[in-house]
Symmetry: C2
Subunit: 396 residues, 2 copies
């Protein structure tokens, strides 16, 4: 059969066509009233999408750029910081903090596990200036208990920094209520546009800390960027095409929410939750094992490669036979697990399609399975979720 | 869950993204060397796609425009013509021929049936100047036996005109070998671009007939258009954006065929055949009845609405719940059948997705069914087709 190019990967994700067209059409100069109006609108929409009253700052960079900003702007050499790590992106916090001369203590869980509030309670000390964590660890698919961990920090001087690059749009957050000091997102995830924009919301506590933080920063200077953002400007030449795409993406999310962006954001999270529930049910019905059974997130489902099968072969067959890209394990996990993402522009039909292709691929690679077993489980999970949460739209 | 806009209708069909971008980018003037080169390339590709050495002529019009050309350019008032009709598009031939003063005789089969060579043999008379037929009747999904009917006309003076608007890219033709005098296609079908271009291949017998045909024609003048086409020109202002899109679509089909457009065309037909086999297997496994069991085409599957269920409700639920458009019955068939198209840019994953959604919709409308039953049958049909016709690409 013919092959379409599809991305079932946890970033980049499938692109919203309206955003692609907005990107193609964008010919604005960035120092014009037209662009300032667009930039101002996108920053306002970002606040709603993140769900915060804090200031939102955007950089032309991949998500790691905003992670670096959350280190370089908030620490001084010699500062003690606590990092929670249960995978590749936790390790990135360690690397970043060390690069800026921080004294890093790490609460570590094995790949596939989460870091629990209990572990954090034991490790946390008053001298930890900052706690760095992921909302969801994209390398293994787990979701950490941000709310539980935030509660431990409520009356301390430790800032809470959450990498929610994969978490925004796949996880419910109460950013201000929980007291997240910096929450970080990126464009190539649930907001359905290509990589190249990073953004974060910054609390008043974090702004105060910046005044005494002595690490060097220039391109990723949060205070400078925030000051310019208030005027609809970016400090340096921004990715105008991606800003236009992001505006179009928020228009789509708003329209899906019946004209309300916050409602659209909740729908998007529920969408990922339902797709994840369908996918988990499917792979378990096929006799496969979830890589992270304890606390799976909604951004992706990580599946342990069946005995005797290299996940690289599954990933390769998906691509060769169906043109669809799923993700292999990263680093030492390569060959041992595969990851099907379901964040952003990924609907019921995509979920069913990916599971159907998975069954076909596994069968051709020699696994004995009953065709349709995973699909049936997914459909039942959808029907259960629809009964629970959505008013029937049929016939309306 | 969120809803994407998907077209599972027999025209317009799903758009190729590369063609959409080519369309958006097209800013050429049509009386330039740049456009002449593009137009010449597209006409040459059309010859390969249609599979003919005959001249190919293109109009900026919907497919009906080229049907009209095949009447106005080839007949004179009072000419006797034979029309084969088994649905809405057969009736269109009758209407067109009558409008141009032809004396129309019709070989008719009921909606859902085909017109057989035996029927044609009995009705055909030497005085029939032209025979008009469909390759596939989009209103019911059937495929007529073009080859068998062409054989009856081989040594007669009756021209054979085939509306293959839905047939091209979903059906194997030997245009020159069978002796099809005019074969007609349109852009909104298997070639994956929006409506607005019609084209046809014209035999030397048909060119000769035109010299004595006295019906009026101006915009749809085949000889004028062919003369200009040879110079890379269209007689009137062409839809430049759609021509650019068509060029991109042929590039995609060529690439799918490993650099060979004819091989890509065959793959596209096989793709539709496999999607159709999967869909037919699925609906039958769900206990539904194919509307046209005798000779179903690959462009679409027409399914009789289950007892007590109005197909309008099925179509509506598909759209409301999943944002996907399937087609209702047309005219008197409205409410009695629904049609799922699988031509053009529609792959394995789309097929599975549409069947999954169908199961979900039927279940919510109250039909008792086992989730996954149709999907399993589709997967088995795919596996059987893959075993038969395609070298395994897994691991290659």
């Amino acid at each position: 059969m013919i092959r379409k190019g599809r991305l079932f990967t946890p970033g980049p994700t499938q692109l919203l066509p309206a955003a692609q067209l907005a990107m193609a059409a964008a010919t604005m100069h960035h120092r014009t009233g037209e662009f300032r109006a667009l930039y101002t609108k996108v920053l306002a929409d970002l606040k709603v999408f993140i769900g915060t009253r804090n200031d939102v700052v955007m950089f032309t960079a991949s998500g790691t750029g905003a992670m670096e900003a959350a280190v370089s702007n908030l620490t001084s050499p010699g500062d003690k910081v606590l990092v929670l790590s249960a995978g590749k992106f936790g390790e990135r916090w360690e690397g970043l903090a060390k690069s800026y001369g921080c004294v890093v203590e790490t609460v570590r869980s094995p790949y596939g596990g989460t870091v629990t509030p209990q572990q954090v309670r034991q490790a946390l000390k008053p001298e930890h200036r900052v706690l760095y964590m992921q909302a969801t660890e994209s390398s293994t698919g787990v979701r950490h208990d941000v709310e539980g961990i935030a509660r431990l920090l409520k009356n301390s001087d430790t800032l809470l920094i959450v990498d929610a690059i994969t978490g925004l749009g796949t996880t419910h957050f109460d950013v201000d209520g929980w007291g997240i000091d910096v929450i970080i997102g990126g464009s190539q995830k649930a907001v359905m546009i290509p990589p190249g924009l990073a953004y974060c919301a910054v609390s008043s506590r974090a702004w105060q800390r910046m005044e005494s933080a002595r690490n060097p920063r220039y391109y990723f200077d949060l205070r400078k960027e925030n000051k310019n953002g208030a005027k609809g400007e970016s400090s340096y030449t921004p990715s105008t095409a991606l800003v236009a795409a992001l505006a179009a993406a928020f228009d789509y999310v708003r329209e899906q929410g019946g004209g309300d962006l916050a409602a659209g954001r909740e729908l998007l999270v529920n969408n990922a939750e339902t797709a994840a529930a369908m996918t988990r049910a499917a792979v378990q019905a096929l006799g496969l094992r979830l890589f992270s059974a304890s606390s799976p997130g909604a951004a992706l489902t990580a599946v342990a490669s069946p005995d005797g099968m290299d996940s690289s072969d599954i990933v390769k067959a998906f691509r060769n036979q169906f043109g669809a890209v799923i993700a292999n394990g990263q680093g030492e996990m390569k060959g041992k697990l595969f990851r099907i993402a379901h964040l952003g522009y990924y609907d019921y039909l995509d979920t069913i399609a990916a599971i159907g292709a998975l069954e076909q691929v596994l069968a051709e690679l020699g696994r004995r399975l009953e065709f349709g077993a995973g699909l049936r489980a997914a459909q039942e999970a959808y029907a259960a979720a629809a009964k629970e949460s959505e008013p029937a739209t049929v016939g309306s």
